[in-house]
């Protein structure tokens, strides 16, 4: 009820919509009736004039045939036989001398001396209009000249016509009032109906504002614009909810993963403080503390890198580089480790294959991929880096003959801080692959993985061949 009252304020869309509708309705009906009035008026005038002209022709013919006497006879006969509309008849000499004139006495008071004025304008033809002295009616007069120069004039007052038009106007007015009311009611109804989805949207937003995050707009699947708005709004809410849940989960894992090294840090320091002062043991404890805090810092830095890359705020220094040189750099970094583990690293990339990307970030991506591959590959295994151009893409594949990834883990390996059962027991933050994906996405690329437990994994990175524009 409150919201209804609020809608009556002139600022609301509801009010404006209803008012516009009613106004449009009223104006168009007014125009319609106005036109009808004008048409009726002009058709009545035409009727009268046709009548007068016919009468004039008839009387002129009689005058020609039998003179004034014949005319008077006819008039007398007419008055007796049929009740005709009374009209004015004047017969005069060209100088203005009236020979004969009949005027119905119920007419208004016209200045009949003006009958002698010759018709002035050509357009009006032989018609003279004389306004009544009280302006209540107009006398329309048509003239003709007989061959003997006698002027015959026939006239009709518009009084009767005016009465008809006046009645018509009253009827129109009587119709227009209910039409106006109907217009307002219709406008209100239409506005209410049209704004219903918007009101639902507002209610949903209010509900979300009040904390009901799961609230959604009711859609009617009519496929109209407002329904589409509702669907889009719901989709946006779903996305936001997913993001918030993702962030909440990530925050939980971060908090959990930070607590462990922090607890260790605190424990080491506390034990060292409680023990008897011992230079050597104290130094050991301090070294442990530094190592733990480095771990925390690395984790935080990587998390920041990931979120910067994901939100698109990571600045990329794009340059064109040979993929082969990227492979060489990365392999060089891990050469010793691979040798120690007796793992063979192979690299196959066309020498002319180049990629436009941030070199330092790409090194980080490849180092993480190779790091992972080496970590999960047993002694004597093999890791292969392959690159090739396919259609509009540059594809980089990192393959290993390692332990592989369980199918249940496969969709989650890109998640932050996710470590498979195997990964938990090994050193690592569970951030490497998230960072890889975030950086590849920042380059407008995508990642893919397939794996066969026990046989190995295959990670594929796709980059657009055309240089990605800076974000």
């Amino acid at each position: 009820m409150f919201s209804r009252l609020r809608e009556l304020r002139p600022r609301t869309v509801w009010f404006r919509l209803a008012a516009w509708y009613a106004a449009f309705f009223a104006v168009s009906s007014a125009v319609l009736f106005g036109l009808a009035y004008l048409l009726l008026a002009s058709s009545l005038q035409r009727q009268d004039r046709d009548l007068l002209e016919a009468k004039l022709r008839e009387l002129a013919a009689q005058y020609e045939a039998g003179g004034l006497a014949a005319l008077q006879r006819t008039l007398l006969l007419e008055q007796r036989t049929v009740r005709r509309r009374p009209f004015l008849l004047r017969v005069s000499r060209p100088g203005g001398n009236t020979i004969f004139m009949t005027t119905p006495d119920q007419w208004a008071d016209f200045d009949l001396t003006r009958l002698d004025q010759p018709p002035t304008t050509a357009a009006k033809g032989r018609w003279i209009e004389i306004h009544a002295r009280d302006d209540s009616a107009i006398l329309e007069v048509v003239s003709t000249q007989a061959p003997d120069h006698t002027v015959l004039q026939v006239g009709l007052s518009t009084e009767r016509r005016d009465t008809v038009l006046e009645q018509f106007a009253w009827i129109v007015l009587a119709i227009l009032v209910p039409i106006g009311v109907a217009g307002i009611a219709g406008g209100a109804y239409l506005a209410t109906r049209a704004l219903r989805p918007i009101r639902q949207l507002i209610q949903t937003v209010h509900a979300i504002d009040a904390g009901a995050m799961e609230a959604r707009v009711a859609t009617r699947s009519t496929g109209d614009e407002l329904d589409e708005l509702g669907v889009l709004f719901n989709r946006m809410l779903d996305r936001i909810a997913a993001l918030i849940n993702g962030m909440r989960a990530a925050l939980d894992t971060v908090a959990h993963d930070l607590r462990t090294p922090m607890a260790r840090l605190r424990g080491i320091a506390e034990v060292a403080l409680r023990a008897e002062p011992d230079g050597r043991a104290g130094r050991e404890a301090l070294a442990d503390c530094v190592e733990e805090s480095d771990r925390v810092l690395t984790m935080l830095n990587t998390l920041m890198d990931i979120s910067e890359a994901e939100t698109g705020t990571l600045a990329l220094n794009l340059e064109t580089m040979s993929v082969q040189s990227l492979f060489d750099d990365t392999i060089e970094l891990y050469r010793n480790i691979a040798e120690d583990r007796e793992i063979r690293i192979e690299a196959i990339a066309p020498s002319d294959l180049s990629l436009t990307a941030d070199r330092s970030r790409m090194r980080q991506v490849l180092a993480n991929m190779l790091d992972n591959a080496l970590k999960y590959t047993a002694r004597g295994g093999r890791v292969a880096l392959t690159a090739y151009a396919a259609k509009a893409q540059i594809v980089i594949v990192v393959e290993d003959t390692g332990t592989g990834i369980a199918p249940t883990d496969l969709p989650r390996i890109w998640d932050r801080l996710y470590r498979g059962d195997l990964g938990r027991t090994r050193r690592g933050l569970g951030l490497g692959l998230s960072l890889v994906r975030a950086i590849v996405h920042a380059h407008h690329g995508r990642v893919d993985v397939s794996s066969e437990p026990g046989k190995g994994s295959r990670f594929t990175l796709f980059f657009p061949a055309t240089s990605p524009s800076r974000r």
Partner: protein, 224 residues
């Protein structure tokens, strides 16, 4: 050598000051940019270590004021902002080097020393010597107790870096940056592996040991 530390956080300032004093520098501290500018007017400093976020005038504005007054004291910017843009901005406004917080002290020390070296334009040595270990930078020959050692290129690069910083600890991050040119920390410790290989060749059959691991700090090459 005299160093000015401009840092408003008392704990960080004291740890930098203490570390630099231990390394043999004379150190003054200013808690804000205005005090620092006053001090630099009166005292000749070899290097200034400047935090960007300061109460009142910020570090970048302070460096600009310094350069406007035609003072060429090398400035090492220390900041918690770690994006490339911030780094570039810091260097463009007159800083000479940029270090992100939190940092390993050994890295700060190495950068301060590099700035001093650059400013005093020390001549480039052709031979580096630590104890009986000799590296000839021209012929790339390495000998220990007159016995020739065969090193792989990365091992040579690491040894050269350690010898240039002989007696001063270098962190893993610094090694990654200088030996491989990598600005990030790979998960598997590639530095450890390279160091242990170098140690095999340099120290295994000789005494005394020259290459020492300082847990939590890094590595140091020293004769005693």
């Amino acid at each position: 050598m005299r160093i000015l530390v401009v840092e408003d956080d008392r704990k960080i300032a004291s740890f930098i000051t203490m570390g630099l004093k231990q390394a043999g520098f004379a150190v003054d501290r200013a808690a804000n940019a205005e005090d620092a500018l006053d001090l630099m007017q009166t005292e000749p400093y070899d290097v200034a270590v400047v935090d960007i976020v300061l109460p009142g005038m910020d570090g970048l504005a302070m460096i600009e004021a310094l350069r406007r007054n035609k003072m060429l004291t090398p400035v090492l910017i220390v900041s918690a902002k770690r994006s490339v843009d911030d780094r570039v901005k810091g260097l463009q406004r007159g800083g000479d080097d940029y270090l992100t917080k939190p940092f390993a002290f050994s890295e700060l020390l190495a950068r301060v020393q590099a700035l001093i070296r650059r400013a005093t334009a020390a001549t480039e040595p052709t031979r580096l010597t630590v104890g009986d270990l000799v590296v000839d930078l021209l012929t790339r020959e390495v000998t220990r107790a007159k016995r020739s050692l065969t090193l792989q290129p990365r091992e040579f690069a690491l040894l050269e870096f350690l010898m240039r910083n002989a007696g001063r600890p270098v962190s893993k991050t610094m090694i990654l940056e200088h030996v491989w040119g990598y600005g990030f920390d790979p998960q598997t410790n590639v530095v450890d592996v390279l160091v242990s290989r170098l140690r095999q060749k340099v120290d295994r059959e000789f005494a005394p040991k020259l290459l020492h691991t300082l847990r939590g700090v890094g590595y140091v090459l020293k004769a005693s």
